[in-house]
């Protein structure tokens, strides 16, 4: 499987999809930092743009960015017939599947690291230093981002392997990311209201807490609300379910 993984990693790093998604994320981060800098310098002088705000830009869009990148890069496995080539060359389905999943993990790590570095650079250029974020908290946030991105990447890659490289993969993948983002707003609003206290109780409270604690999409906030064990348990659960369901269905899939 290592030869397959090596080849897949090379293909991922050379792919246009990765460059496109990374470029879009960095442009968004830098565009935000630059516009805020302009705004605070000329329109609202006296206000400061802190590094925390700039660093929180990528986590805000990371679920979409990772989903879009996995879709753009890995749907070509089907649409360009790469899977056909692999199977014709004697690769086993299990090898193909696990290689792609590990590659998805690598992709999410590459994207998170690059976005974090770019965010730090933008913070140095446009920010006025950290307001109260410590190095340990920053590392904590980054770790959470890495874990959540890995879970989302594996989930959407498994979706591609199950659904094939059709537009339905895009609709389902991005649709889930969008719905989870909406659900995240609702959960945040009800669990952590800006004024007053949380009014949820019973099953609803359990459900909202479960979502907030264990669903990978809720760990993209940039500031961890639960301990790392909760994030790890939720994301690991999502990865394992995606791997098991994906492998079972992909092994039975009729490729056309």
């Amino acid at each position: 499987m290592l030869r397959m993984l090596y080849a897949d990693t090379r293909a991922m790093l050379l792919s246009k999809g990765l460059r496109l998604c990374m470029g879009a994320c960095i442009a968004y981060q830098w565009g935000y930092a630059f516009l805020m800098w302009l705004l605070l310098k000329y329109v609202l002088p006296g206000e400061g743009l802190y590094a925390e705000e700039i660093l929180a830009v990528y986590p805000g869009i990371a679920s979409f960015a990772v989903t879009a990148a996995t879709l753009l890069i890995f749907t070509q496995e089907y649409s360009d017939g790469i899977i056909t080539n692999k199977l014709c060359s004697g690769a086993k389905r299990r090898e193909i599947f696990f290689s792609l999943m590990i590659n998805a993990l690598q992709l999410s790590a590459v994207m998170s690291a690059a976005a974090q570095l770019s965010g730090l650079l933008a913070a140095v250029l446009f920010g006025e230093g950290f307001y109260n974020l410590t190095l340990a908290e920053m590392a904590d946030s980054f770790l959470e981002l890495l874990i959540a991105s890995a879970a989302v990447a594996v989930f959407s890659s498994a979706l591609i392997m199950i659904l094939g490289g059709k537009s339905v993969s895009y609709i389902v993948g991005l649709g889930i990311a969008f719905l989870c983002k909406l659900a995240g707003f609702e959960v945040m609003d009800k669990l952590y209201p800006t004024s007053g206290r949380c009014m949820l109780s019973g099953t609803k409270l359990s459900l909202y807490t479960f979502y907030d604690k264990y669903i990978p999409y809720s760990h993209f906030g940039g500031t961890p609300r639960w301990d790392m064990a909760a994030a790890l348990a939720g994301c690991l659960g999502c990865i394992l379910i995606s791997l098991a369901a994906g492998l079972i269905l992909f092994r039975k899939k009729e490729i056309r």
Binding site: A11, G81, T84, C88
Partner: protein, 304 residues
């Protein structure tokens, strides 16, 4: 000649539609096997089964000594290359990068042969041009080059000349013949361009409605593709009377022409037509093409 691929009563259904209905087929090692059939006859389905893209409903096949349900069949597939339907490659990579990618994926120790392969298929001068910007012919060549990675013993080409210009068709044909002759590679080629196939194939398999109608060697086919004399006459009824009288087999084509399948003495025939008071306008020798043979084969099957 030993057998490289053999299928026994191979069946495959898509829902209720039977795509393959008990296919028995044998591909001799070292042959160029022309796989002939209409759209939807089951050619690509069989190719998909051989490549492991789909699994058979019932029946079995043996590929290079490994049965289809043997876990080791991937070993046989490592000695195989294929272009199924359309050539598969990474569109964001150059031709060279695509071949390196295939070598890496197959775990080849090095990719020294990549430049030689590019030369062989005529893509050596594409440099860094992305495969996305390749013409149809170039894509087809790249697909074949990828299939050739790792020196395979067996190559499957599904409609390899689809969309190629005449020069491209000749180039691909020459390439296939060269690889078969020099490296002893066995080819399975499915094609609609039957006359083109007849310039290549050493063996044929005709498939219709998921059933192999006939398998034969090129020599056998040559014998069966009868020669005829195409005659154009002023009165077709007179031709019918003459042919009936002489007991010759014939086929009316239109109001004044017919194909006659017989060894005939032209002077005697001319005399017979003169006696009928009719004139022979033209007369020429005519070869029944693979296409005509195929149509006749299918017609025969339908009428059977």
């Amino acid at each position: 000649m030993d057998t490289l691929f053999k299928s026994e009563a191979l069946c495959k259904n898509y829902g209720r539609f039977p795509a393959l209905r008990g296919v028995n087929m044998e591909i001799p090692r070292g042959s160029i096997y022309g796989f002939v059939g209409k759209n939807g006859a089951g050619k690509t389905t069989l190719i998909r089964l051989i490549c492991g893209l789909q699994s058979p409903g019932s029946g079995s096949f043996t590929l290079m000594g490994y049965k289809n349900d043997d876990a080791q069949i991937s070993k046989a597939r490592r000695r195989m290359g294929a272009v199924v339907e359309s050539p598969a490659f990474y569109k964001d990579m150059s031709a060279r990068d695509n071949l390196i990618q295939q070598c890496l994926m197959m775990g080849l120790p090095d990719y020294k042969g990549v430049d030689e392969l590019l030369e062989l298929v005529g893509l050596a001068d594409t440099a860094k041009k992305k495969a996305r910007n390749f013409s149809l012919g170039m894509r087809q060549r790249l697909g074949i080059a990828i299939a050739l990675c790792g020196d395979p013993d067996f190559i499957i080409l599904d409609e390899p000349t689809n969309g190629l210009d005449p020069q491209g068709i000749i180039d691909i044909r020459e390439l296939i013949l060269k690889l078969n002759r020099d490296k002893g590679i066995t080819f399975l080629i499915s094609s609609h361009i039957l006359d083109e196939l007849s310039r290549l194939a050493t063996h044929y398999g005709f498939i219709d409605k998921g059933v192999i109608v006939r398998e034969m060697s090129a020599e056998e086919l040559k014998k069966e593709c009868r020669k005829s004399v195409r005659m154009k006459v002023s009165d077709i009824q007179a031709l019918v009377r003459v042919m009936e009288k002489k007991g010759f087999e014939y086929k009316i084509l239109d109001g004044n022409s017919a194909d006659v399948y017989a060894e005939m003495n032209f002077s005697e025939l001319a005399r017979a037509f003169e006696e009928e008071g009719t004139a022979i306008i033209t007369m020429e020798e005519h070869d029944e093409s693979l296409e005509a043979f195929y149509l006749e084969l299918l017609g025969g099957q339908k009428n059977a």
